[in-house]
Symmetry: C2
Subunit: 211 residues, 2 copies
């Protein structure tokens, strides 16, 4: 087994165990047992448990969002493409968060490094502003103020996935039908909330149906 493998295993094991039990709830011995290595390998690679934590937290970087941000960066030709990008961006952001949920948990519980989320949001603002310039977005939408609406939703759904499962039975991690329904419902509200003109399938365009 190469050094690189061992180092990676320690990072992966540390992320899982810190996320589950908190930094102080896990011993160096436990991490090494989980990573199937000897105690002095943590010392060798990271000096200390704190050093391992720092290495793990560095992994929660903007690189996690490579795929969704690449989707945002492509120019869109028309409104359909704009909406399509938005949908893919949200789906891929959720994938990225789920794939890195242990890192997310550690970043959150350490009151942590949120530069990755801030950068994600910054690029989303640029994208929404492009859409607004093309009038795909209602003129009154205050983009800077609402750019976090979806990201907060996505991040919390992943961070609290086990709590949400306990309270509601819904499991974003493993239940694909729920994931699909959840994305569709939240994007429906977001689309209707920000886009100029309602989406065709809503069929509710009349003002004051019953008032």
């Amino acid at each position: 087994m190469s050094d690189l493998d061992t180092r990676e295993r320690l990072i992966a094991s540390g992320a899982i165990l810190f996320a589950e039990k908190g930094f102080d709830g896990v011993s160096v011995r436990e991490i090494c047992a989980h990573a199937k290595t000897t105690m002095n390998m943590i010392h060798y690679f990271f000096s200390s448990k704190q050093g391992l934590l720092s290495a793990i937290m560095e992994r929660f970087s903007v690189a996690i969002f490579e795929v969704p941000l690449r989707i945002l960066a492509k120019p869109f030709r028309d409104r359909d493409e704009f909406e399509d990008r938005l949908l893919m961006f949200v789906e891929e952001t959720l994938e990225a968060l789920l794939a890195n949920r242990f890192l997310l948990a550690i970043s959150y519980s350490q009151g942590g490094n949120l530069a990755a989320l801030a950068e994600h949001q910054r690029q989303f603002i640029v994208f929404l502003k492009q859409g607004k310039r093309k009038s795909f977005i209602r003129n009154v939408v205050d983009i800077e103020m609402i750019s976090g609406l979806l990201l907060d939703r996505l991040v919390n759904q992943v961070y609290f996935s086990s709590k949400i499962k306990a309270f509601s039975g819904f499991d974003i991690v493993s239940d694909m039908a729920y994931r699909e329904r959840w994305i569709r419902a939240n994007l429906d509200v977001f689309f209707n909330g920000v886009l100029s003109g309602k989406k065709g399938e809503m069929g509710n365009d009349e003002e004051g149906l019953d008032s």
Copy 2:
């Protein structure tokens, strides 16, 4: 000074210090100094630092949301009242979260007791379903799936207030103009996203303005 005062001061000081430095980053000595009491008072009231933490976490209960939930519980006669209740509910939820932001921080970082948030959300679902029965809400809105959209936003804005301030300069805790703008912008998207028929001031009722 009565016992009750001392106990409350220990809870308040513990909440502030745990929120700032984490449970393991604070000593019993520090908490007692902050609360201006002697060391053995933590032992007397709570047995241990862990006991104090439990007492603090119990405070993050649904009682925190007494005001916003009372607003939701009142029946609404028409659509204006429904929208009005929604606005007040969001404003008062934000107030409640800001007033209890140290408790929120501790609950979050301990992966904590989220029963209070779950109950808040449960009652919000009931309210939204009433609105849907009266057709104030679009028929396709999947209420159970989107009920957390605003709550996630509100909670994160408060929990991450110091990070948000560092990244963007906006401070929800002390900047009343930002608070006002932020609530208005997010509610605008939410209202447009869920309500049947667009709100009058939007002037964007035509389908496909530019497509």
